[in-house]
Subunit: 669 residues, 2 copies
């Protein structure tokens, strides 16, 4: 429709005024909050500098993301990758800036795993010679690497991988084979299109002995013409729910030979004569894992914050219903308490996860130092908690994004809301880097161990100190104000976690004592074990959040953060009141106070809702959302986006006249 034709449609741009009014009402300085979240003014400036660079370059934009098909998406992602490489080289950017640039481009790419896993694996598992040989090639993109662990038949259970690497002492080579269909590598990003090389996991076989899964470097495609090398079957696994800009692929080996020095041999080695030396017990690698998981937890906060930004801005502008709002017009939907219950709890969660991500990053730094001093004391707790936190935060975030999308009504279903993309981009986080159920069970295993230590009177690390509390305690809060104190809420969550862990430990011990075998007993208790892990993690998040708030100097910021922490904690209790009542920690009256606290805190946060999402400081191009635009002009955004949809230029051929001409009727009835 041409501009002239549209002239009769008066655009009110009302959202602009509505968001301005929201912003004027904020109780705190948004810029100060942004600095607090980023870790200082300078950090904000660095982020904004990179964001501006990305915004400047047309090829890095995502504005037509919602229109292009699979092949084109892959091709564009490769273009983006090249542009990032070009820009980082041209501007002499450092690694951190490179990471920031990927962040703002915001698309899984055929090359994502090159930086994400290929290089780090060689770094951590390669010998010095292997590092010297491969890392420069990788750094200059002379080779592009993938991380090929998962197979068609095995993901979570790495010990079940079937690919073999058999040592041939004659030729001093390993011979890689995929003996079964299920042994095909399946899922690794980069294999579909981009990878020339990969690190791959295979069972090391020497002289008929299976030494278990080890890691190898293999070239898979020719560097000149990019065709698969002999014996390599490789391709793309096809379209996915999301991540269609990435080329998750398959790979099978038919007697592919690699020299002995392509076993990553920092810890395990095979000598010229086939003598195998197994890795020393090795925990230094745990540091890296904790770093990745703290990035995932921080990433959960970031993703949830984007969803909140979109849904809260839109809800502050969307008028709907027969109820009159404060300005006499139709009520904006953010003023409905149900909408607040859906969205502001998510907002509090995004803030809560942020501070837990920070805390874990700090811990990682301390841990690295400890590990170098051979002090492993906090490692088990941090390691176990990080598994559970990865599990809990990614599940909550994925669910939260989708909840935010639904809370936008019909328009949330449009790609132009940005929310469908955000969801399908984010949701594999519940699966990769450890399936969330499997990880929760890992945490539970540690909690049970700690519980037994507590029973034996051994000291516990701070994060699980609650396990040595006397069972049967009750909440001391004497009134609603007491109940709403962060320390009281945290203690309440700790009490539930303690009870959950004690109860499941008791049941496990009873089953074992009755002769049930361990695996069976474990399986029998899985639902409770996962619940215990979650209880522990929710407590940890509140503990970290409250600790972070204690260090905030500005009273305005501390004030609203306290409200957010209160809401997060109280809403976690509200969502599982049965546990608190069944264990007798809360009385019925106290449980009602918790509900009242949630309700009252929603009202406290509501006036700051838009300012709180503004503080996340997402540029419009990153959100790529007509509903979440910073200026609030959502309807103009939707109409402009629809106008740009290619389908509107290609409608006519779809309609076949024969359909409408079988009755001879005048053209205007």
């Amino acid at each position: 429709m041409a501009a002239s034709k549209e002239g009769f449609l008066e655009a009110k741009h009302e959202g602009v005024a509505l968001l301005a009014r929201e912003r004027a009402a904020a109780s705190f300085n948004v810029r100060a909050m942004t600095h607090l979240l980023d870790g200082g003014e300078e950090a904000t400036a660095e982020k904004e500098r990179v964001a501006a660079m990305v915004e400047e370059h047309a090829v890095l934009q995502a504005s037509d993301r919602y229109f292009v098909g699979r092949q084109e998406s892959l091709a564009r992602a490769m273009q983006k990758f090249k542009e990032i490489v070009r820009l980082t080289l041209a501007a002499g950017l450092d690694r951190e800036d490179g990471v920031r640039m990927y962040y703002y481009v915001n698309e899984p790419m055929p090359t994502s795993l090159h930086h994400g896993m290929f290089i780090p694996t060689i770094q951590s598992q390669g010998t010095d010679e292997q590092r010297a040989e491969w890392l420069p090639l990788a750094a200059m993109f002379s080779i592009i690497g993938a991380y090929a662990q998962t197979e068609l038949g095995h993901g979570s259970n790495v010990r079940g991988l079937e690919t073999t690497a058999t040592f041939d002492v004659e030729t001093d080579e390993f011979v890689l084979n995929s003996p079964t269909l299920t042994s095909m590598k399946w899922w690794p990003g980069g294999l579909g299109v981009a990878a020339t090389h990969c690190v791959t996991h295979a069972r090391l076989m020497i002289d008929g002995t299976d030494y278990g899964v080890h890691t190898f470097i293999v070239q898979v495609r020719d560097l000149e013409d990019h065709t698969p090398l002999p014996g390599i079957v490789i391709g793309d696994i096809g379209p996915k729910f999301g991540w269609n800009t990435a080329d998750n692929g398959y790979l099978a080996f038919d007697s592919v030979r690699i020299p002995r020095n392509q076993l990553l041999a920092r810890y395990a080695t095979v000598a010229r004569d086939g003598t195998y030396t197994k890795p020393p017990h090795e925990k230094i690698g745990y540091g890296t894992m904790i770093r990745i998981r703290s990035m995932i937890v921080a990433g959960a906060s970031d993703a949830l914050a984007r969803a909140c930004t979109i849904a809260i801005r839109y809800s502050a502008v969307r008028r709907q219903g027969t109820t009159r709002g404060r300005d006499g017009g139709e009520m904006v939907v953010l003023d409905y308490t149900m909408q607040q219950h859906r969205l502001l709890i998510l907002l509090a969660t995004a803030y809560a996860f942020h501070f837990t991500g920070e805390y874990m990053m700090e811990l990682y730094r301390r841990l690295q130092a400890d590990l170098e001093d051979n002090d492993l004391s906090v490692l088990p707790e941090v390691h176990a908690t990080s598994a559970g936190l990865k599990s809990m935060t990614t599940t909550v975030t994925a669910d939260g994004i989708e909840e935010a999308r639904r809370a936008c009504g019909g328009h949330g279903f449009s790609q132009f809301s940005g929310l469908p993309y955000l969801y399908t981009w984010y949701v594999p986080a519940v699966t990769y880097e450890g399936d969330n159920v499997v990880l929760a069970l890992q945490t539970a295993r540690y909690l049970i161990k700690s519980c037994r230590q507590a029973a034996d009177g051994k000291p516990l690390s701070a994060g699980v100190a609650y396990l040595s509390a006397r069972p049967g305690a009750t909440c001391a809060a004497a009134n609603p104000a007491d109940m709403g104190r962060l320390d009281v809420l945290a203690a309440t969550l700790a009490a539930r976690a303690g009870e959950a862990v004690r109860a499941v430990t008791g049941r496990l011990d009873a089953l074992l004592a009755s002769g049930v075998d361990y695996d069976e007993a474990w399986n029998h208790l899985m639902v409770e074990l996962c619940a215990a892990s979650r209880a522990h993690c929710e407590y940890s998040v509140v503990r970290n959040f409250a600790a972070a708030i204690a260090t905030v100097e500005c009273p305005d910021l501390a004030g609203i953060l306290t409200a957010l922490c209160r809401l997060y904690a109280a809403s976690r209790i509200e969502a599982d009141l049965g546990s608190f009542l069944a264990q007798g920690y809360l009385s019925k009256g106290q449980s009602q106070w918790v509900k009242d606290i949630v309700h009252a805190t929603l009202a406290v946060i509501r006036p700051d809702a838009v300012a709180l999402v503004d503080a996340f400081n997402f540029p419009d191009f990153l959100l790529n959302s007509a509903l979440g635009r910073k200026d609030g002009d959502v309807y103009v955004g939707l109409v402009e986006a629809a106008r740009s949809a290619p389908v509107n230029e290609h409608l006519r051929p779809i309609i076949d006249k024969s359909l409408f001409s079988n009755l001879h009727i005048p053209s205007r009835l």
Copy 2:
């Protein structure tokens, strides 16, 4: 990869044997269950006949659904539509068969609303002359209609629609106008591409008076060349999370004139001189609404059943973990109790919703008869319950599909699992036909009214009779076996619903008494109101399910259905134990029994899990899922699907050699 190249990958087809073993262990006759679900042998035969017809016709297939882009999707959907029309005419199929054919083609189409809303609206709101004029044209597809109610600015609040239809007494016409950007029609299916006509909602203006929203027939495109008529701005709203085979569109009017007889005038009329006659209070239309909602509830069951079929078959074949399974191999994941807790509760839910859908359909039939006899006694209850049930069942189903998808691990993220499509196809059901929050609140309104009636000692209809129970009652179950009886579980759910409704009614009355205005009080209580609605609906589902089981004669079928009903009911209690404990209906001991019942019932249902999904009788082509295939050969399915992905034929051009040639390194390192 050519067949020869793949030869070294040995396919074990193990899933085939595993599913055969599962099927051999079933406790009931699957075919008998299918007949029970379908409503008799004949009904099953009819479904299968149509399914076979759809399967036979290449153009109706969805096998390449996951590869085609938006424009092509629309074009194919139109071809499918034409083929359905051709087949129904050629085979002389009746309306029911036509509906079944759409069901098996399983794609929203540019023409879906033609049958779904355009024709029914003319039928229910048109005068006899209007029906005679328009319905034959629509039946022969001489015109294609859309249902254009929602605007950019208004969906839920229909009273807020802005489009105007101003009566021009001079010319005896209505003049349609879209005064603002937000008044554009936005979302109606069919507008984007297909529609030549629509029924549209606009404010009727006569002589400066606004008579509120009425329904009109308008032609929007030329019947010969399909271009928009003068004054019509029309197009597609762009890509969506799902439904990209449909053409949800926009539409604006710039002084478009239609004759007076295009106001649908069965109930409201405008005379030649502009005299307006308002509709008599009219409840006959409620029957239709209940019919649509019972179809949505039945549809929720159907969609959830598909997800369960895929995830349960796959989980019975997927081996993963270090635990040994019963056959000594790696455990199949369906044997993990956590996986059972996730999937078998969903399976029980799919069965539960089925019988509530049936119940509502039956009620609709009785209601139609009652209404013709002017007996409106059960109408309010049925109407209110149907709103809440639409809300509850669609939310649970959407969440359940996604849970099932995640429970398939990485492969659930592949489009070839069929689950991403199923989710995005289903999920708008939480929004259309009434946003789920808005509907839950409607139910709550009725419940409060009934609660007040109960307090006044007035009689209540059967579905809400629990509201006249004495408050403060406790559960009489004396042991776990007692607790697991369906009547006891139903009574427990009724007790929670009663307490929730009484409590929120009391709080509402207190707020009103303290001078708070109604809208504000209502808003204040929204979270509790929605919870009360949900509690009522969960009780209703169990009540209907238990009633249906009571009529099942075959003991095997009744046995497993009883287990499913028990699991559904107990899991609903388990998920919200806090309410039952806080109100004091369950003791702590009883609450533990409920958990134990859930656990024990999972074990009862597990051996029948595959048989129970087989009974849904979905043909493979409908599920369109490598993981859900009936034969269990999931890995072969995934590999074949990936092999057929067009991206694997178009990889080369994506890689730009320049990337890999900036260092001069030999082609094999």
